[in-house]
């Protein structure tokens, strides 16, 4: 997993609630057996005027000039500002992969769907929950100010605006530690291999039918 410490990034606002994983990365791109290369198809149906299929050269496709990420002022954005229940729908990790591959490192929203939220941490993409009023204010500021950047500091758990105002965000201590150090979670779990084996032996004795 990639390490995450801090990020000073351009912010792009996506002003829709309940953005689902089908919108983030449409199903036809899920046929890939790779983990990378999903960025060009992030928000594919909103982003391009034609219908996208795997194998198409995205550089040759016509962009939807009205889609927010296509506006020149949001090119190179690293922070996505979103609305409630972002990432609802399927468990596809392709959704965070696509956001990360596009260049996003942080997503800020008033709430996230559970599976999506969890998947983000596994790959070093930081989802931040701020209260709806503060998210509203950020939307207003981003829309009003070209080149609007936020500073996200994971160590301090803060999001700081250009005017110097800071918002604190909550994060599970274990997840924070894993992100800061780019830890391999499987490796960490395997340090408990003896515990897992002991549990398994007890479990097998109590419910042998689970092990046939």
């Amino acid at each position: 997993m990639e390490k995450f410490y801090s990020c000073k990034g351009l912010v792009a606002p996506l002003d829709r609630a309940n953005v689902d994983t089908d919108a983030i990365i449409p199903k036809q791109f899920l046929k890939s057996i790779k983990r990378s290369g999903f960025g060009p198809n992030l928000f594919d149906e909103w982003r391009y005027l034609d219908h996208g299929e795997p194998g198409m050269d995205s550089a040759q496709r016509k962009l939807n000039p009205e889609f927010i990420l296509n506006l020149p002022r949001y090119r190179g954005a690293q922070i996505l500002l979103a609305r409630a229940n972002f990432g609802c729908g399927s468990s596809r990790e392709h959704a965070p992969w696509a956001l990360q591959d596009y260049g996003f490192r942080v997503i800020i929203a008033p709430s996230f769907a559970d599976i999506f939220f969890n998947n983000c941490f596994k790959i070093g993409l930081l989802p931040i929950v701020l209260d709806a009023n503060n998210v509203d204010r950020l939307f207003r500021e981003v829309l009003a100010t070209e080149g609007y950047r936020l500073v996200v500091n994971l160590e301090e758990q803060s999001v700081t605006t250009p005017s110097g105002e800071s918002f604190f965000f909550d994060i599970d201590p274990f997840r924070k530690h894993s992100l800061l150090n780019g830890l391999d979670e499987i490796g960490l779990t395997l340090q408990h291999a003896d515990r897992i084996k002991a549990f398994e032996a007890r479990h097998r004795a109590a419910q042998p039918w689970l092990f046939t």
Binding site: A17, H51, S91, N119, I186, T189
Partner: protein
């Protein structure tokens, strides 16, 4: 005093990472279901790290998302889909993992075949790289969807690092009206609490109405828990659960059966268990449900109207509603019964089991789809469901009514294979998501029960199934 969720959680905690009860815990996984879309990168990661699966006999694999529903003897024509399915076959062969291949009678949608085989048993933790894993909670399992990194984590360690959720009890009491099904209960719940209403919770469905549901109905309900935002839905064990499991291929036998049943009967919430949130519904008030928008919470009753955004004060909500109506090609205040589908889809992990097919066939018997219906599909949930339906003569009823009778798979629920809507086409669908483009780019989905989909097929527009059947 414990909830069912507390019991399932506690019996699987290997190690608590933090001393706080809401901290991360290492939780043991009993059953790992695997399909072709979310597993290739996990198997690759496992190999690259030089690791092996921790417990092969916990894994059951099947290809369901990409498989064609016609002409299977010719294989898969789309080379990208074919490679994904072949990759699963190859990984399972190399690692000696049980897989039901495409032409196996037992092949089907992963959430249909697990219970059908008895591979889903009460008291288990069940995971799969698929959000509709919540389905298996119908058997008093802790069952939830995971991402690909977690698929790899479970393959390598048989465990997951997760946080305990809050608990919600959804109580449904009273008798369901004629023609009202578990799908209508699920959509009514989502309409009430919203698609994010269950976020952060594990839901237990309880009450007399739930007790009266068949296992098929319970699976439909738990399947849709994720559409209410809850990763897991569950229902306590009772005689209906035990009768369903008895004699299935992976179910315990002999002495083990008696011991298992004795344990399973403890899998219910204690009478005075406290939930973080309780939601109550009166079954008698539930009418046939039809979604009108692009999120499952955008739902109303068949005798209702398309809502009017100008009546909504919340700006974000109003904007979303306007956007949804534009996408769906609907106007405010239009009666739901004036909406005319172009296609009908009966299938998906929500509604493709034998009872669902029987309910649709009951409506269709001796009738024919309307002239405006371009295509009506029935896609059984598994080869065994298909076989059973054929034994009962349901395939004939569907065919005579003008439906196509297909091979099992996810099909037009998410349109990863060739079954899809064209842009602007409208579908009465028994699936679970009406998201933009879900059934094909530009496609418009209305979620309904199997009986309602069949009724719409015959009438050519949505109609209250209670009036025609």
């Amino acid at each position: 005093m414990q909830t069912l969720y507390d019991k399932l959680w506690q019996s699987h905690v290997v190690h608590q990472e933090s001393d706080k009860p809401d901290g991360m815990a290492l939780v043991y996984i009993d059953r790992h279901l695997v399909h072709e879309v979310t597993s290739p990168q996990a198997f690759e990661g496992l190999k690259l790290a030089g690791r092996a699966p921790w417990r092969r006999d916990s894994i059951l694999a099947v290809a369901d998302h990409n498989v064609p529903t016609t002409g299977r003897s010719h294989g898969i024509s789309d080379p990208v889909s074919r490679l994904q399915v072949e990759t699963l076959d190859q990984n399972c062969e190399e690692l000696d993992i049980t897989e039901f291949k495409m032409n196996d009678l037992r092949q089907g949608i992963v959430h249909v075949i697990g219970p059908e085989q008895g591979a889903t048993l009460p008291g288990m933790t069940v995971v799969c790289g698929d959000s509709h894993t919540s389905t298996h909670g119908a058997f008093a399992c802790l069952a939830f969807g995971i991402g690909t990194s977690e698929v790899e984590h479970v393959l390598a360690t048989q465990c997951l690092l997760i946080k305990k959720a809050k608990s919600m009890q959804v109580v449904v009491e009273g008798e369901l009206g004629h023609g009202i099904t578990a799908k209508d209960i699920a959509l009514a719940i989502i309409g009430k609490i919203g698609t994010a209403g269950g976020t952060g919770y594990a839901i237990e469905f309880a009450g007399g109405t739930i007790r009266a549901l068949s296992m098929e109905g319970r699976m439909t309900l738990c399947n849709m828990a994720i559409e209410a935002g809850a990763r897991a839905g569950m229902i306590a064990v009772d005689n209906i659960t035990i009768e369903y499991i008895k004699g299935r291929p992976f179910a315990p036998r002999g002495d083990q059966w008696e011991n298992a049943v004795a344990y399973w009967r403890t899998l219910k919430s204690d009478p005075d268990a406290i939930f973080d949130r309780v939601v109550i519904l009166d079954a008698a008030q539930i009418k046939p449900q039809v979604t009108w928008g692009t999120s499952p919470e955008m739902v109303t009753t068949v005798d209702g109207k398309v809502p009017d955004p100008s009546q909504i004060t919340d700006v974000v909500k109003r904007h979303d509603m306007e956007h949804a109506l534009e996408y769906m090609g609907l106007v405010p205040n239009m009666p739901i019964t004036d909406i005319c589908p172009d296609k009908i889809f009966i299938g998906s992990c929500t509604n493709s089991r034998i009872e669902d097919l029987r309910a649709a066939a009951d409506v269709l018997k001796g009738k024919h789809i309307a002239a405006n219906i371009k295509l009506a599909l029935v896609v059984p949930g598994s080869g065994l469901v298909k076989h059973q339906a054929e034994q009962e003569g349901l395939d004939k009823i569907f065919r005579e009514a003008g439906f196509e009778w297909r091979e099992p798979g996810c099909s037009m629920c998410l349109a990863m294979n060739d079954d899809r809507l064209s842009s602007g086409e409208r579908c009465a669908s028994t699936s679970n998501r009406n998201f933009e483009g879900r059934q094909g780019p530009g496609g418009r989905t209305h979620l309904v029960s199997p009986a309602m989909a069949a009724a719409a097929a015959v009438a050519g527009h949505f109609v209250d199934v209670r009036e025609i059947y």
